[in-house]
């Protein structure tokens, strides 16, 4: 039977005199655990002696589900990997399939992917820094940053029609072109974000309480960071200039100048500074990409002799197809940016992968057959048998998709390399020997995202 000491102090506290180690569970459902993860810690007073991190509480069989359906069916699942920056996952998965197929996306699509990825990256960093600061008592910072994220999510909503589960990427392109007047909205949202970053710098960079909790805490050396497979802001905070956008440029990153933010000590404070600097760089990238966006202005011209879709279908059915392919149709607001001219600009010209425009599917037999061949079971996108690995720079580091095709319309195997798994695996190394309270800022700086960690 447990004695009083054990009842009050927990298992392992029996035995009367002398101090004993105490076992403490942090999580799985703990407000500071960002999602669900369990840290099982052995404490000597306030010092963490030994920890074990348990993950998997959010496992949803992502990889198994991908194997169960055609290639495009996996795109909504990728939204839910890193739900703070879902656009990057969308595009990463699409790019892996494009690599497998050996197709090249259009120049404008590359720029759109860059712009949307950078907006997502800022959202991710805002959430990470804001939540981390809140857990150290700086609630104002959290509110400010969520306010800025709100402006950016409005941009995302404008383009994709959704805020979180956006499903905007497509194999060979994106769902729709950027909406009219998007560049002006970006300008406005970035101005707001910049002001918030300025305010946050004034509030906590150099703030005594914040510095005391962050400087020198949770540090990993350069060698340890690499040995633990950690990439992204954590590796750059240790002073290693590894950023896939520079080292293996994909999409349009090789044409856009930007700087890699680097830290020195690899501690929580450097990680914070790297993320703050990266947000500014991301805004720079997005602005330059918007300026250099090829394929004409974003402003899509909705005017012309457009006819309603049902009238268009009727003309097609009656065989009055002369000039039909050139006739614009009025699209429902839900399909904005998917008219024929926009469709050609943002999608690869490859009938093996790209769904025809609605106008073609309704108006011509070729279009209808093309549509049929892509959506019917057993047809769809069919990459030749082989394998490909495509890494992109996610908000947390290298996000890679490894796809194996057996030549059928379903992926034989999809594997996601989650960028936040290595830092969570290295968490014991970061927190052992430090104080219990240091777990909170260190765990915050790791930016664990349950969706991609557990898949």
């Amino acid at each position: 039977m447990a004695d009083a000491r054990e009842l009050f102090l927990g298992e392992g506290a029996e035995g009367g005199a002398g101090s004993k180690h105490l076992h403490v569970n942090m999580g799985p459902a703990h407000p500071a655990m960002h999602g669900i993860v369990r840290i099982f810690a052995e404490l000597d007073g306030e010092t963490v002696v030994k920890t074990d991190v348990e993950i998997g509480y959010l496992h949803r069989a992502f990889e198994k589900d991908c194997e169960a359906g055609p290639y495009n069916n996996a795109i909504p699942y990728t939204d839910r990997l890193n739900y703070v920056s879902p656009l990057i996952n969308n595009f990463g998965y699409s790019s892996a399939i494009e690599k497998l197929l050996g197709i090249e996306i259009t120049e404008r699509c590359k720029y759109i992917r860059v712009i949307m990825s950078e907006i997502s990256r800022i959202c991710d960093h805002l959430t990470c820094v804001g939540a981390g600061a809140m857990e150290l008592g700086a609630f104002t910072v959290f509110l400010y940053m969520i306010k800025a994220r709100e402006f950016l999510w409005e941009l995302v909503e404008d383009v994709t029609g959704a805020r979180l589960t956006i499903s905007y990427g497509r194999v060979g392109g994106v769902k729709a072109d950027l909406p009219a007047g998007f560049d002006l909205k970006v300008k406005k949202a970035f101005a707001e974000t910049r002001q918030v970053l300025e305010e946050v710098h004034t509030l906590i960079t150099g703030n005594r309480i914040f510095m005391d909790r962050m400087v020198g805490v949770g540090a990993l050396s350069k060698e340890d960071t690499i040995a633990w497979g950690i990439t992204g802001p954590l590796l750059r905070a240790a002073g290693v200039p590894f950023d896939l956008r520079k080292t293996q440029p994909y999409w349009a990153y090789d044409r856009i100048p930007f700087a890699i933010a680097l830290g020195k000590n690899g501690d929580n404070f450097d990680r914070y500074l790297v993320r703050m600097a990266e947000m500014e760089q991301s805004m720079r990238i997005a602005e330059q990409a918007l300026d250099g966006l090829p394929g004409g202005a974003i402003q899509v011209d909705w005017e012309g002799k457009a006819i309603p879709p049902d009238a268009y279908v009727d003309l097609g059915k009656q065989g009055k197809t002369e000039g039909l392919l050139l006739m614009p149709i009025t699209l429902s607001p839900n399909l904005q940016g998917q008219d024929r001219s926009a469709h050609d600009r943002v999608n690869a010209h490859d009938k093996r992968v790209i769904l025809p425009t609605k106008a073609d599917a309704y108006g011509s037999i070729e279009g209808l057959m093309n549509h049929f061949m892509l959506v019917m079971e057993g047809y769809g996108i069919r990459p030749p048998a082989g394998e490909a690995y495509f890494p992109v720079e996610g908000a947390n580091g290298e996000l890679g998709f490894y796809v194996v095709s057996d030549g059928s319309d379903r992926p034989y195997r999809v594997h996601c390399r989650p960028p936040c798994l290595p830092p969570v695996a290295a968490l014991p190394k970061m927190i052992e020997g430090e104080m219990v309270a240091d777990i909170i800022p260190t765990f915050g700086s790791v930016n664990m995202i349950g969706g991609e960690l557990d898949r």
Binding site: H59, K99, G229, Q248, L421, D454
Partner: protein, 165 residues
């Protein structure tokens, strides 16, 4: 070093332990025998010209239902390596038989191999010889079977969850 040079160096240093090399869509792959795997990984990490200091990923593929490979080795364990210093990549694969799904661990080379190998054990039931702590990573200990094997049906219910009502 570019891809072909990496593969040539692996072939030169490892001899017939490299079963095959190929390049597909810009990815360079060396297939290494299970006996030579540890030597290959050690060479990749320690050789100055290769310098693969970052173990990006460890995963596996179950080729049970892959057209044309039904008779061959059932599994392949796949390693993705990157060199931070040299900026190049390589993929190593090793075939594993169904009857003896054991591969030597890489925990001694990269600490991150610990978790990545636990995930492969969890999902595919491939054991890593010499692994210090081979527990399931994503699933719970009472979970029956290995879900990413091709003969694990996607709708199978687990005893702890109970029958579907």
């Amino acid at each position: 070093m570019d891809g072909p040079a990496i593969l040539a160096r692996l072939r030169e240093r490892l001899g017939d332990r490299v079963l095959a090399t190929h390049e597909y869509r810009g990815d360079h792959t060396a297939v290494v025998s299970r006996e030579g795997l540890l030597a290959a990984l050690t060479l990749c990490r320690n050789d100055a010209a290769l310098g693969f200091d970052l173990l990006v990923d460890v995963t596996a593929v179950d080729y049970l239902r892959f057209p044309g490979r039904e008779d061959g080795p059932r599994f392949e364990v796949v390693y993705h390596l990157y060199s931070v210093a040299n900026g190049h990549r390589v993929r190593l694969k090793t075939p594993v038989e169904q009857d003896d799904p054991v591969v030597p661990t890489a925990c001694g080379l990269w600490p991150i191999a610990n978790w990545l190998e636990r995930e492969v054990w969890d999902m595919f039931g491939i054991r890593f010889d010499g692994h210090p702590d081979l527990r399931r990573l994503l699933m719970y200990e009472e979970f029956e079977g290995h879900p990413l094997r091709k003969d694990y049906p996607i709708n199978r219910r687990q005893p702890l969850i109970g029958p579907k009502v």
